[in-house]
Amino acid sequence: MIWNESKECMSRDQLEELQSKRLVKTVNRVYHNVEYYRKKMQELGLEPGDIKDIHDIEKLPFTTYEDLKITYPFGLSAVPTSELIRVHASSGTTGKPKIGVYTRRDIEIWSEAVARCLAMAGITRDDIIQVGYGYGLFTGGLGAHYGAEYLGAMVIPMSTGNTKKLIDMMIDCKATAIACTPSYLLHVAEDIEKYDVLDKIHLRTAICGAEPWTDEMRDQMEKRLNIKAYDIYGLTEICGPGVACDCEYHKGLHIWEDHFYPEIINPTTMKQEAEGVTGEMVITNLTKEGMPLLRYRTRDLTSLQYGKCECGRTMARIQRFKGRTDDMLIIRGVNVFPSQVEAALLTIDGTTPHYMLVVDRVDNKDTLEVQVEVAEKVFTDEVSGLEKLSEEIHQKLKGAIGLNAKVRLVEPNGLEHFDGKSKHVIDKRKLYE
């Protein structure tokens, strides 16, 4: 089902006209209300009047995570605090999180964006949907929740952490849809098989996101649970999940271009790339009031495909993600930067921050092992002392990255060093094929 046909199926001409109008308005608003952007534009000799239509977007400055750090928390807000009704955040490289602030209208637009995605996945007001994303600062839980309510479906706000209860509720309430990370859904599938209750569930649809996944994982979950699975994409800085989603033809993720304007740039030359060429995706908020970002560098590597889809939608499709231009890892839907681990290790007296993150997917669940070299300074002849050290590292990491990592103490120089994106990470999951 197409939730908002007048927008989702717009002709390119009409869409560009709408995008142009909205971009001009947004640029005017940030120029006059956000000192940081005004200065950035002035440095480039730009005035709002220079931006006349969507093709002028290339003149605008980029926004990076560094900008978010400098302006943390509300420096990029374009409205008075009295207009803001919510804050969400996801982890940043060190210390400060990446934050997003929302006006009432922002929440409404975001909810509609999610509703469009759910409708694209065939979910209607007759559905009962379990939200298995974490509720809280993370945009996943509340984002999916508000979108499903906006659509008119009944929401079971499960959050995360209790798979048994999720399955019980799935059976008892006859849930027909679920929103969660793809790896978690596979874990749920395993437990459903383990409890031998596959014949008791009514699940039809899964809408999965917050981490990259493969067609192979889709095949697996569709076969094992006898459902249809869809990929939803988003990021806190832009709004949260619901920026894009794939339709039943699975030819890429339709991005809601009337709200989120996508560009693909060459991360070296910073110039726009043509349709189909892989580069870094850059997104501009065209309608956000609270914290509209201009040309936000997502660090996600992908390409765009234009042209009408078989489903009838004209919104551009984000192609398969090819990786990232930074060292961010997504583990069980949580953003993790190696630098966060390093910072946590530095707070432990005596540990030299020689470490390696080993990420794997075992039985469809992401695992994180943090290997830490045992230097002479922390070594003790007593096993209990080393176990205490290991536990201390475990706790510090949990505080820093919010994940339970397995800590493995290793010999100095025992860590594998290789020429990759980062010598601090071994990712065995093969998420980007």
């Binding site: 045992v374 230097a375 002479e376 070594f379 003790t380 002849d381 007593e382 096993v383 209990s384 080393l386 176990e387 493995r408 103490l409 290793v410 010999e411 100095p412 120089n413 025992g414």
Partner: protein, 142 residues
């Protein structure tokens, strides 16, 4: 009356023990005893040898984490209940035994290496017992 024990951090993987022993033996240091405390991921190798400080330096050069710490080496008469009597004494004095392992010193008794939470006090107690205490010099001469 202490003996200097060399403790070495080892990952549980093939060939590690061999490497450590090679480094030590190749330099002519005599290993008197060896004991390994292991967990799922790592082990702590404890050994008594003729020159623990030299062994420590050699291992350091090889990039292997180790340290030298004091333990007590004591020979207890070969008789039923003699070890128990020693342990009981230490227990009565509120001493906590952190680890203990057996070793062969070619004397008439049963020898053990012992680490407690208060080595000095342990020595004082053992000196009044019917046991023989070894020092590093004696170990080095073996």
């Amino acid at each position: 009356m202490f003996v200097e024990q060399l403790s070495v951090f080892l990952e549980n993987k093939a060939g590690r023990l061999d490497e450590v022993l090679s480094v030590i033996s190749n330099s002519g240091i005599n290993i008197v005893s060896i004991s390994l405390a292991d967990t799922a991921d790592f082990g702590v190798l404890r050994m008594l040898c003729s020159d623990p400080f030299k062994a420590h330096a050699l291992l350091k050069d090889t990039g292997i984490t180790s340290k030298v710490n004091e333990v007590i080496v004591v020979s207890i008469p070969q008789a039923v209940g003699s070890l128990k009597a020693v342990v009981k004494r230490l227990n009565e004095e509120g001493l906590n035994i952190q680890y203990v392992y057996g070793l062969s010193l070619n004397d008439d008794g049963a020898s053990i290496a012992l680490k407690t939470d208060d080595l000095q006090k342990t020595i004082e107690i053992l000196q009044n017992e019917n046991v023989r205490l070894y020092n590093q010099e004696e170990i080095s001469k073996l």
